[in-house]
């Protein structure tokens, strides 16, 4: 079964600072990777996703993430954060291979990183 680790539980940054949130997964096979975001009082929503191809993926609001297969990592980055980026960020993995391997459409989430951006 797959698992996901997010090492930073709480991050506080000033506006315009650069952001990098770590995400590592454990699964030996092919994976689809995601970052979800939950703004205060709102639903979980998809920020970006990686299925295949270019390992550098771009999402909404200037976020990007890089898949490094050799490191089992999918770190989230943003060059310059804004106050409105204050939210909780979740990394998630979907193991490709169907239900027999626990894949199908099943998402396994990390524990989340609470980001606070100060003015």
């Amino acid at each position: 079964a797959q698992s996901v680790s997010q090492h930073n539980h709480h991050v506080i940054l000033s506006e315009a600072a650069s952001l990098e949130l770590g995400c590592n997964y454990s699964y030996g096979g092919t994976v689809n990777l995601f970052w979800y975001v939950q703004y205060p009082g709102q639903h979980l929503q998809l920020l970006l996703k990686y299925f295949s191809g270019d390992p550098l993926v771009k999402g909404i609001k200037g976020f990007e993430a890089e898949f490094i297969k050799s490191k089992f990592s999918f770190n989230l980055r943003k060059p310059s954060v804004q106050w409105s980026d204050t939210a909780e960020y979740f990394c998630a993995v979907n193991a490709v291979g169907g239900l027999l391997t626990g894949g199908g459409n099943k998402l396994t989430f990390g524990t989340g990183t609470q980001l606070k951006v100060e003015l």
């Binding site: 709102q42 998809l46 169907g98 239900l99 199908g104 099943k106 989430f109 989340g112």
Partner: protein
């Protein structure tokens, strides 16, 4: 397009009581998921339906939790009897269809606002 609807938004009960949550997915979405999110943790899948059939309930505590999606549209998740450790946010999500048999096709999951359950 209307999103995933859940009710109630908040529920407070005492331990050993019963509680039920309701979810209405996005119209036309065949797959429905229930997740449990305990404070400080990420969402954990409890059960997954494809239309009215269960696809995966391996992490559902079946001695106290049950879920149904009788007509393949809306769904109910029940806890009976509740324990203190059931305090969590219960999230419902839906996606257009299940992934292909080899899992190579993933469909984005759309989440509802959740129901926050407090067990006293």
């Amino acid at each position: 397009e209307a999103g995933v609807a859940q009710s109630p938004r908040y529920k407070i009960i005492e331990k050993r009581q019963s509680v039920a949550f309701w979810c209405n997915p996005i119209s036309g979405h065949a797959t429905l998921y229930w997740y449990q999110q305990i404070l400080g943790q990420g969402p954990k899948l409890l059960i997954q339906f494809q239309n009215n059939g269960v696809v995966d309930d391996s992490q559902l505590p079946k001695d106290r939790f049950s879920a149904e999606r009788l007509k393949g549209v809306d769904s109910t998740l029940k806890i009976q009897p509740a324990k203190l450790e059931d305090s969590a946010v219960y999230l419902c999500a839906s996606s257009p269809r299940l992934a292909g048999g080899d899992g190579t096709t993933y469909n984005e999951q759309f989440f509802g606002p959740g129901t926050r359950l407090t067990v006293l």
